[in-house]
């Protein structure tokens, strides 16, 4: 398989683009693997890659029902940041940002990570205090962050609504300069290609229909292409976590599946060179501009349990109102597409990366709004958990039993109401 470089681009330019190989193989399933990962999204593929790269475990299969990155990896607004309030979340996402920073080189695949900065606007003195606290948490964790006043925000993004009668008067913003966006599909494809190169089998169009157990241990999976035995099974299926874990007898988890919509407009000339987000009571909005020029944005969940990957109209209206409240210049922009992904909303708003009551079965779920930005760190730490059969120092906090032990990680202080996280 060829190495991508400026020379390969030049060579193929001269050869009429006839020499490119497949980016990854399409192998038949083997009867047994050391590790089977269920779910061929960013997290599953990243886990397979780091199992091979960090732990030398290359006899690995990633089993995907549809196509790579067809779930939430391809349905998000591609924002990457690490400005959290809970120190353990901040550290986790900061590890992710650090991995993002070198990911294109590491994978030899351009994931188009663009550290264009993220502005989190605030509109009240109380919200300013909360963001100042967030800046302090980040600084205490060794992550740069800045608190901007209104004038500084005006200078950075002059075309927000700064008028006297603005619905949400802008008092300032928290700025993380190293935050940004990445190309969502490229992340799945880059991890797939790099994992495949290290020997991982990627099995698309292969639906898991059952999890094989013997004496309280997971020993493989039943799939639409036959039985595949495995020494260890990792589950990284986002919104379908409950559905898949039920196959292993784990019927009730601290997760509800909700849908979250995202939107993209027709392409515009360069308008916004950073990510802007805000969340005042009753509104939640984040927007950036893709390299193709489309305004990519989103808001709240649809607010009821759902596995339907399509959104409802009241939220379309809400998000449009949020957009108009902060960027009135978008008023005549046409919407190109909108779609929904199934979020695995956990009971405390933080992900679960854990061993399970079934030996050799590991779960990686509950990512709420934060799955895309977590992709590399999720794979890194989940691979470590599977390889060593114990959580590392950082992952221990994200265990499944934290709820019953009383160690929830409730970023927003919302309590056990998944739709509010």
């Amino acid at each position: 398989m060829s190495h991508y470089s400026v020379w390969s681009v030049l060579r193929e330019g001269l050869r009429g683009q006839t020499g490119w190989d497949r980016a990854w193989r399409d192998p038949a399933p083997k009867s047994e693997y050391d590790v089977v990962i269920i779910g061929g999204g960013g997290h599953g593929l990243a886990t397979a890659y780091y199992l091979a790269k960090n732990h030398g475990i290359t006899n690995v299969a990633v089993v995907e029902k549809g196509w790579l990155g067809g779930g939430n990896t391809g349905r998000n607004t591609t924002i990457v940041r690490s400005n959290y309030v809970q120190p353990v979340s901040t550290q986790f996402y900061e590890h992710s940002v650090k991995l993002w920073e070198n990911l294109s080189h590491d994978l030899n695949y351009n994931v188009m990570f663009s550290q264009r900065g993220q502005l989190g606007l605030f509109h009240t003195p109380a919200a300013r205090d909360a963001q100042a606290k967030r800046v302090n948490t980040m600084l205490a964790c060794g992550i740069e962050a800045e608190l901007l006043n209104r004038e500084q925000v005006m200078k950075m993004v002059p075309h927000l609504d700064y008028s006297e009668n603005a619905r949400f008067p802008i008092l300032g913003a928290i700025l993380q300069r190293r935050a940004g966006t990445a190309r969502h599909d490229a992340v799945a494809w880059g991890f797939a290609r790099a994992a495949d190169k290290l020997g991982v089998d990627i099995l698309q169009q292969t639906e898991v229909t059952g999890i094989l157990r013997e004496g309280g241990r997971a020993v493989g999976v039943e799939t639409s292409r036959g039985t595949i035995r495995a020494k260890k099974v990792g589950v990284a299926v986002a919104g379908s976590t409950g559905h898949v874990m039920a196959m292993a007898g784990l019927e009730r988890l601290p997760i509800e599946s909700h849908k979250l919509q995202a939107f993209v407009s027709e392409p515009l000339k360069p308008l916004l060179d950073c990510v802007v987000s805000y969340g005042a009571p009753g509104s939640h909005f984040y927007i950036s501009q893709s390299d193709k020029g489309g305004m990519v944005f989103g808001g709240d969940l649809d607010f009821y349990n759902s596995y339907a990957q399509r959104g409802n109209l009241p939220i379309v209206q809400d998000v449009a109102e949020c957009a108009m409240a902060i960027m009135p210049c978008l008023g005549r922009v046409k919407l190109l597409r909108h779609w929904a992904g199934i979020m695995d909303m956990s009971m405390d708003g933080t992900h679960i990366m854990s061993k399970t009551p079934v030996d050799n079965l590991y779960m990686n779920a509950g990512w709420c709004y934060g799955g895309f930005k977590a992709t590399p760190a999720s794979g890194w730490h989940f691979a470590d958990l599977i390889a060593n059969d114990r959580p590392d120092d950082l992952t221990a906090a994200f265990s499944l039993d934290r709820f019953e032990r009383g160690y929830t990680i409730d970023e927003k202080g919302m309590g056990p109401t998944p739709k509010l996280h």
Partner: protein, 94 residues
């Protein structure tokens, strides 16, 4: 748009309602075991298919309802009042 037939107000858009979560969860008595309370507060069956759930007709009659809805197709089935006394009264008067 999901449409819910409120037993008091009739068929309305779901934007009139506020979602209240899984209606199969029963809170145990105060002196119940830690595990029973953990199950009630944190563990959900989260089914892909038929789901019994609470909706509050917050922009209508303000009654709490139990709605049977399919989480995959969004098809709405039976709708009743959540309050057992109210449910009984309506059933008796029908």
């Amino acid at each position: 748009m999901i449409r819910i037939t409120c037993p008091f107000c009739g068929t309305r858009d779901h934007s009139e309602f506020s979602y209240g979560g899984d209606a199969t969860v029963d809170y145990p008595p105060l002196d119940a075991s830690m595990d029973e309370w953990n199950a009630a507060i944190y563990r959900r069956s989260n089914p892909r298919g038929p789901h019994k759930e609470y909706w509050h007709h917050v922009n209508g009659c303000r009654a709490w309802l139990i709605v049977e809805r399919n989480t995959l197709t969004h098809e709405v089935g039976a709708v009743t009042f959540a309050h057992p006394g109210l449910r009984k009264t309506v059933e008796n008067s029908a």
